[in-house]
């Protein structure tokens, strides 16, 4: 990844950040830029170093190398309380010994704001997050979603250059999480503050972010828009981590450079398109990824017409989930299961378990990567 030079429209720049714990390198030479007013997510499995990275930006951990700049100025030497950055903690860290109002006023008081100014700003931010009636409530009287918004309000009232969010939805139940994803995105758009959001949930990252960085073993694997990550993953890790995929391992039988004929370990022959570097050659071990929605499903062989890859199968199970319904299809010859998105068109409405079907997908929708050594 190229080292970015200081620019003025970037809120945050991290340059070659390194953090080691003994022999373990938690953050390994990471550089990136977050544009002003954007929603930036760092997506990675637990232990990938994303929390360490965020804590270095917040100031709770000192980097072993590299620089962190906010609006062009290095903040590495500043203690957390003097950085123009605020953090929403994983468990929100609202102060239980204070009321909602006192929680929000805490930071303003530390800035020696006048009593009138504090009152005005607290009221304004409560209005903004839509909870003006909660001012006098104790923290333990709030619902999960309310706590969430108060925690954000507590930071926003300080008008930080950058708001850091450490998986703040992680502890909530699924339904609430779905709703808050949307709310959080709207809130960010409304206030215009730059958000840096870390999560291990790819759906959160995809729904909310302008830019997503996928992190693995201390490094950024790919940075891009959610669409780029989803449709043009550059590594097998990104392809596997972002969105659902059917995955096969195999060996290149023949290749013309961009397309390859691959024989998978369970004996299927597939035509796939190379993605990422380097170029493939015969005999290379590869991983092939095919999105469930890229697979065409038909009751007869004609349905998959025009697809380079075609397979017969039998419906193993139907996973009905409204718009997200899936069909698990078993390939009789190999016994392998393939996940297929169920089109919401009428013709496949009556599909039942045990029915014979035909599958097909285009070569360009089967991306293949050199297998990780």
């Amino acid at each position: 990844m190229p080292v970015t030079s200081p620019s003025t429209d970037a809120d945050l720049e991290c340059v070659q950040l390194v953090k080691r714990f003994g022999d373990f390198t938690a953050v390994d030479d990471v550089s990136f830029t977050i544009a002003e007013g954007s929603f930036f997510s760092i997506l990675g499995p637990s232990g990938c170093g994303k929390t360490t990275l965020l804590r270095m930006i917040a100031g709770f951990q000192r980097p072993d190398g590299g620089d962190i700049r906010i609006k062009g100025k290095s903040i590495v030497a500043l203690p957390p309380n003097r950085r123009p950055v605020n953090m929403v903690f994983q468990h929100l860290a609202l102060f239980p010994m204070m009321t909602v109002e006192q929680n929000i006023a805490y930071g303003l008081k530390r800035r020696k704001a006048s009593r009138a100014e504090i009152a005005r700003k607290v009221a304004a931010v409560l209005e903004r997050v839509g909870l003006p009636e909660l001012a006098g409530k104790r923290i333990d009287q709030l619902s999960g979603g309310q706590k969430q918004r108060i925690a954000i309000a507590r930071c926003l009232v300080l008008e930080p250059a950058l708001l850091l969010l450490d998986e703040p939805l992680g502890a909530l139940d699924l339904k609430l999480r779905e709703r808050l994803k949307v709310e959080l995105k709207e809130l960010q758009a409304q206030v215009g503050t730059t958000f840096a959001y870390i999560t291990h949930d790819q759906s959160e990252a995809l729904v909310m972010s302008d830019q997503v960085a996928v992190m693995d073993r201390g490094r950024f694997v790919q940075v891009g828009t959610p669409q780029q990550l989803y449709f043009e993953p550059r590594t097998a890790f990104v392809a596997g981590f972002v969105g659902d995929s059917n995955r096969w391992s195999g060996r290149v039988e023949d290749t013309n450079g961009t397309e390859a004929i691959v024989i998978t370990t369970n004996g299927l022959t597939m035509i796939a398109t190379r993605a990422g570097e380097p170029a493939l050659s015969k005999g290379d071990a590869v991983d092939i990824f095919v999105r469930p929605e890229a697979i065409v499903l038909g009751r007869d062989a004609d349905g998959a017409g025009g697809c380079e890859n075609r397979l017969p199968g039998r419906v193993e199970s139907l996973l009905f989930d409204g718009a997200n319904s899936r069909v698990m299809v078993r390939h009789p010859a190999t016994g392998g299961d393939i996940m297929v998105a169920l089109p919401q068109t009428g013709e496949l409405m009556g599909l039942r378990r045990g029915e014979d079907v035909y599958l097909g997908w285009r070569a360009r929708q089967a991306t293949c990567f050199a297998a990780a050594p």
Partner: protein, 287 residues
Amino acid sequence: MSTPPQIRLGLLLLFAPIVFWLALLVILPHVDMLLISLRVRVAPREYATSLANYAEFFTEPLYWNTFARTAIMSVTATVMTLLIAFPVSYYIAKMVRGRSKTFLFLLCLTPFWVSELVRTFGWMILLRETGIVSSLLLWSGLTDARVELLYNDAAIMVGLVYTSMLFMVVPLVTTLDSLDDSLVEAGYDLGGNSFTVMRHIVIPHAMPGIASGSIVVFMLTLGNYLTPKLLGGKDSLWFTDQIYTQFITRFNWELGSAFGFLLLVLSSAIVWIGLKLSGQTLSATVR
């Protein structure tokens, strides 16, 4: 919903020892003591009911002053114990992890492996004029004559604080342990410095521990007998010593009982005032 009889019997048996213990060792003696305190000796083996013993306490400045002095010194000792124990507890609860935490905690416990008497004698050996501290000062040339560090109020204070340490450290470590690290980090993140984080986040969180530790230390100190007696000087007075004197050397059980009751009532009142002033409740401190 009614409780099945066998469970009721079980509960009864379960609580019988504690009820028995309370009745026999706490309630009965106190009732007896109350009755004794309400009588005065009129002639050999003849007693009359009277409040004279209580009146004696309020009219004789000596007793009243002794109590006031004891209470003030106990409060001072409590505050000093808190000031010393808080950083220690914070260090144990928040700064160290794993084995060293257990080790430090045990270290606080070690003085309690010997009896209070031995501990107090230890301080006497250290502080007396021909003792270790005085010898060290003389040897190092910091003083040109031996100094007497024993037999004064400062020595009492040292002994009391030392004896009370554990009773403050244990509740403080427990409450500070339960403080989520992210609250402290949030305190800094939102612009607080060490002082404001301590003042607005750590201390309010630790308040129940501070209150319960302080109550225990205050009560232990106020009721301490050996330490003030052995380390104290010729001017030192301690209320429990006064009670002991009334009971044992003066054979004046009546006045001694009255003093005992007054100690109970007045110390409870001081604790109550302390709780009110700090905005705590007793139920919160025992939680």
